[in-house]
Structure formats: C-alpha cells, structure tokens
C-alpha cells in the first residue's frame, strides 16, 4: 500500500513538473514574441503536436508493455504513398483514409508478427522494418512527389470542427481519453503494466503476453496510418521523406512523459503533457527561426537529460547512503 502511494506521489510529481515546464515555455514564448499569445496562433501551435501525439499514445502503451517501435515514421511514409496512388486512381477521400489505416495496421501487424511469432527482439525487428518500409517508399516514388489529392481531403489536416478546435486536436483528445481509460481503468491496462514489469511472471499468471504485444504493435501501426492521413492532408503532398526523423520525437515524447524504457511504468496524462510541452517548445523555437536540425539537437539533449536526472539523483542518494553506512 505504501509503495503504491509512493508511486502515485511520484507520478503526480512528474506530471506537475511537466505542467510547470509548459507554463514556463508559454511565458517565455509570450515574452519573446508579441504574436504568440492570441487564439489563432495557439490554435496553429496545436498542429505541432497533434499528429505526433496520436502516435505517441499507442507507443506509450507499447513501451509500458516493454517493447518499442522505431518504424512508426516509416509506416507513415508508406501509408502516405498508398494514399497518393489511391488519389491518382481517383479514389474518394474516405477510401484514401481506409487505405492508409489498412496499410498502417498491416505494417504494425508485420512488426507484431516478427516480435511475437519469430521472437525477434523489438528493437532489431523495427529497425529492419523501418528500413524496409521507408525503403519501399523510396523505391516506389524515387525523387518524385504525389500531389493530386481530391477535393475534401484537405479537411482532415486543415479543417476545424468547432471554433478553434481543429479536427486533429479533437481526434487527439478523443484518442487520449480512450487510451487513458484503457490503460488506467480496465483489466487490459493492468495487464499491460504487468507484461512490462515482468513478462515471465505475467505469462505464468495466465496473461496471453504475445497476444497483447501483437495487438499493441498493430494499434501503433493503425495510429501511424491515422497520423499519416492528417499529415498528408495538411501538406497536400506525399514524398518518401515524409515524417523523416519523427520516430526520435515520438519516442522522446513518450519517455519525457515518464514512461520507462524498460517497461512497466508511465501514464497517459504524462505523455499528453509531454506532447504539448515539446510541441510548444518547438513552436517557440520555430518563431525565432531556429533551424530544424538544431531543434532535434535540443530534443536529443532533452531526452538524455530527462532519463539521466532520476538515475543520477538515485545514484547520488545510494552513494550518500553507502558512505553513511561505512562511517
């Protein structure tokens, strides 16, 4: 009981730190740019994290269960290619969305099959499929671009549902509520934690570990397909380089949100706060014309620091304890 209380306090503390960091970024953005604090800019800023957040949610579940998927951005590129060729063939927007989701689920299932049936470690399997999926995108499209999207398709990435709430933002909110309920309120969620904490113990207590892992990979693929619809619609074009490097940002969001790379720990509110924090931070940097490569450098430093700080403090504490013991 004490331990659960301790973990709850700790999670609460982590999420409050993220909330405070978001406030700081908001204040700094407001002070450094006169254009930041108005409703329209803030609504624009949400596009900076909606698509990544959508993929980060199932990725968080996957990582809590102890796996990882490096191929998400490559899946997005492949889904976009499918939509581009569908559009060339004159498909309506709804068929394009279906095609993207189908390709995404297919790719995710392929990852899940490699990890559960072929027993390939998730890291190697998804590094391989990342190269495979992105490579197919390059092979099919080369240095070309597909741009002939039908009328109405632009709504997915550019449309607003109500006032300043874009379709992307509404989808993200719905997905976050669903994931949070699934992870924190249902048996399925408890089992996901159990699998990540100790997959042998989970298997021996009767959880279909591989079934869960497979479906989490498929769900991550599906979310990548949905994110690809939104991004492709927002850009109105498909290139093989679509979403290049997004795997770094998506994994950073999940880890920044407090999910342990070793599995078994993390919360959906944390991941959502991390997505908002990172989105606002890169939006602010973008307002000051910081080039993308420097932004990913800052994200990289952030990623390492976030993981390092708790490790360093616990090591320092252990060191202090050991010196006290000796004296």
């Amino acid at each position: 009981m004490n331990r659960i209380h301790h973990i709850a306090m700790r999670a609460l503390r982590w999420e409050s730190i993220l909330g405070a960091a978001i406030l700081v970024v908001l204040i700094v953005n407001t002070l450094t740019s006169p254009y930041f604090l108005n409703a329209q800019t803030l609504a624009d800023a949400t596009f900076n994290f909606t698509e990544k957040g959508l993929v980060a949610l199932p990725m968080a579940l996957l990582m809590i269960a102890g796996d990882i998927d490096i191929s998400v951005a490559a899946i997005m590129a492949l889904c976009s290619i499918a939509m581009g060729y569908g559009a060339l063939a004159g498909w309506p927007p709804s068929a394009l969305v279906m095609a993207s989701l189908a390709v995404g689920i297919g790719c995710g299932a392929c990852n899940g099959w490699l990890v559960t049936v072929c027993r390939v470690p998730a890291l190697v399997a998804t590094i391989g499929t990342m190269s495979l999926f992105r490579g197919i995108a390059y092979g099919v499209l080369g240095d070309q671009a597909l741009k002939n999207y039908p009328r109405g398709f632009e709504f997915f990435g550019q449309g607003y549902v109500a006032g300043l709430f874009s379709l992307e933002l509404v989808l993200l909110i719905v997905a976050a509520l669903l994931s949070a309920t699934l992870l924190h309120q249902t048996v399925i969620g408890r089992r996901i934690y159990a699998i990540g904490a100790n997959n042998v113990a989970a298997r021996m207590s009767g959880i279909a570990v591989n079934g869960y892992r497979f479906w989490l990979f498929a769900a991550t693929g599906a979310a990548s397909g949905l994110a690809s619809v939104l991004l492709t619609s927002r850009l109105s074009s498909t290139r093989p380089t679509l979403a290049a490097g997004w795997e770094l940002e998506i994994i950073t969001i999940v880890i920044l949100g407090g999910v342990s790379v070793n599995g078994g720990r993390g919360t959906i509110p944390g991941v959502m706060l991390a997505a908002i924090l990172l989105g606002l931070l890169t939006f602010g940097l973008g307002m000051h014309n910081i080039p993308g490569i420097v932004m990913s450098m800052i994200i990289g430093i952030l990623l390492i620091t976030i993981v390092a700080i708790p490790n360093l403090t616990s090591r320092l504490a252990a060191f202090r304890d050991s010196t006290i013991d000796r004296s």
Partner: protein
C-alpha cells in the same frame, strides 16, 4: 584462469556452420552474377567491392563490440559526420599537417564522442538506445553549428588529403588495407586479450560477469570508446573518399552498419558475434549494393533491400538460437 562456470556460456563459436553458410551464399551469389555478367566476377571488380565496403567494415566492427556487450550505438553515422567535419576543418585551416596526424586526430575526436555515449551508459545508466538516439541528434546538430550549415567541397581540401587513401599497395587501395588491419586488430583483441574476452562475458551474462569481478559498465564503456574511435577514423576516410563534408554525410548509414552485424550473426541479446561473421555480413551487403544497378534495379530500392535482409537475417538468427536450450526463467531481451 578463473574456475569454469557450472553452466557453459554461449560462446561465439558455438555455431561454426553460420559463417561457412554465409560464405557459401556469397560465393554462390558472385558465381551467379559472374555467369550472367562476366565483368562482375573479375578480380578488379571484386577489389572495387572491397574498397567500397571498407568503411562499412570498420564501422560494423565497432558496432559489433558494442552489441556484444548488450548495447547498441545508433550514433555511429552521426559520429562519422562530426569527426569528418572536424578533420576537414582542421585540414582547411592547417593544410600542411601530415595525413597521419589528421587521421589520429579524427580517431581521438571520435573516441571522445564514443566516450560520451559510454559514460552515459556506464555511469548515468541511461539505456544505450536512448543515449545514442539522443547523441545522434546532438552530433548532427553540432556538425551544423560548427560548419554554419556550409559544405566543405573537394576544391577546399588538399589533393593529398583526398589521394592518400586511393594509393594502392600490392593491388589494394590504402582504404582496403585499413579495413584489413582493422579486422586483424579487432580479431586479436577479441580472442587474445582479457579486455576482449570481458566484452563477451559482460554481454553474455552480466550477473556472472559481476560475480567474477568484471565491471559490466566499464566493458560497455570500452566498447563505446573503441566504436567511436573507429567512427572517427571513418570520418576522415568518408570525407577523403567522397571529397565533401557537410551536415548530412553518412545519414542513415547506422542502419547499414547494424544490418551488417545482424547478417553476420551478432546477437542483439549480447554475448555472441564474430569478426568473421561481421566481415562476411559487410561483404554480402557490399555485393548486393554493387549488383543492384547491374541487375537493373534502381538504387532507390537499396534501402528496402537492406531492410528485407535485416529482417530475414534476424529471423534466421532467432531460429538458430531457439534450437539451443534456454533457461525457462530467462526474460526476453528487448
């Protein structure tokens, strides 16, 4: 000699058939290509393949050391770009420096960057995938910052800087000789030195390693530094060979490096992998790369072929290791 552990460790040379099978596949591939396109199986063409694969071989050797200790280094290609840029800038500002000095400087720079990874993994206990994913972005960012996003082109580099590695000796380029020397040194290190054996022990069974007094973190650090040193050397080689240094050189090359290791039978779960396997894995990829245009497949498909080969090889690796007895309570490696 420390006493033998009660349960024999999974040592790298447990699967002797693996390297010979891969070698056979390579011979069959070259023979088949040679029958259809006789110019491919000539000595000079194969020499070009070796020259073309030399950098991959050196990087894959370093990566193998890291993977053997149960880690992974995603930042090798970024390290190549950063060390390469530093060497190119040094060459630009001090054109009179001998090539050997530049090469050593590149290796030193690369070792420092490798040590950053190693320290994060050893002392800060950051999982290697997180640490190197972060440093990958950092190193590229630093290249951009120190070069202000500009390119250093061949006309800004001395002809000697670009020529040295192309000089031939006994029919092979200096680049090829460097790769051969790297293979020999790493093979000796792994087989005959304590530090080398410790890498296998640290990766094969970290708990047992700790019991016999081997510091697992320290071995991982050593592996990262060596991997970084080889990446630094390759930084110079890459800039000299392709006669250009900019932010995106070797972009995505870490995937090919890891692919070569996986094809060569290095287990991502640590503790196993051989120099011969990695060398054959590199040669395999090199032949595929050089054969694709011959067969008439667009180079745009190279990446997909690599991915397919990684996935296929990883599946074969798992089948091979599934046949060995496994401890029931051993959790799956991630």
């Amino acid at each position: 000699m420390p006493p033998q552990p009660p349960e024999p460790m999974r040592l790298p040379n447990r699967i002797p058939g693996r390297e010979s099978a891969l070698a056979a596949v390579i011979v069959v591939m070259v023979a088949a290509l040679g029958l259809r396109w006789p110019q491919f199986a000539t000595l000079s063409s194969l020499r070009d393949v070796l020259d073309d694969t030399a950098i991959l071989i050196l990087l894959a050797l370093g990566q193998m050391l890291v993977i053997v200790t149960r880690c992974i280094d995603l930042s090798v290609a970024a390290n190549v770009a950063l060390s390469g840029m530093i060497v190119a800038q040094l060459e630009q500002s001090h054109p009179s420096l001998p090539i050997l000095v530049l090469m050593i400087f590149g290796m030193l720079a690369g070792s420092v960057f490798g040590a950053v990874n190693g320290l994060l993994v050893w002392l800060v206990r950051v999982p290697s995938i997180v640490a190197t994913l972060g440093t990958m972005a950092m190193f590229r960012g630093i290249v951009y910052l120190i070069s202000a996003g500009r390119w250093i082109n061949s006309d800004q580099l001395s002809p000697q800087f670009q020529q040295e590695i192309r000089d031939t000796w006994l029919g092979l380029s200096m680049l090829s000789w460097l790769a051969i020397a790297g293979v020999a040194l790493i093979a000796l290190l792994l087989r005959y030195t304590n530090a080398g054996r410790r890498l296998y022990l640290a990766g094969g069974n970290p708990a047992a390693a700790a019991y016999v007094g081997v510091q697992v973190g320290r071995s991982q650090f050593n592996a990262f530094v060596l991997c970084g040193m080889l990446a630094g050397l390759c930084g110079y080689l890459w800039v000299a060979r392709f006669a250009v240094a900019y932010t995106d050189i070797a972009s995505g090359f870490e995937l090919q490096v890891i692919a070569a290791c996986v094809i060569g039978g290095v287990s991502i779960r640590g503790g196993s992998g051989t120099v011969a396997g990695v060398l054959l894995g590199c040669v395999f990829l090199g032949i595929v790369r050089n054969a694709l245009p011959l067969v008439g497949i667009s180079p745009f498909w190279q990446m997909a072929v690599n991915g397919l080969v990684i996935v296929g090889a990883a599946m074969l690796n798992e089948q091979a290791s599934a046949e060995q007895p496994r401890r029931i309570l051993e959790p799956d490696a991630k």
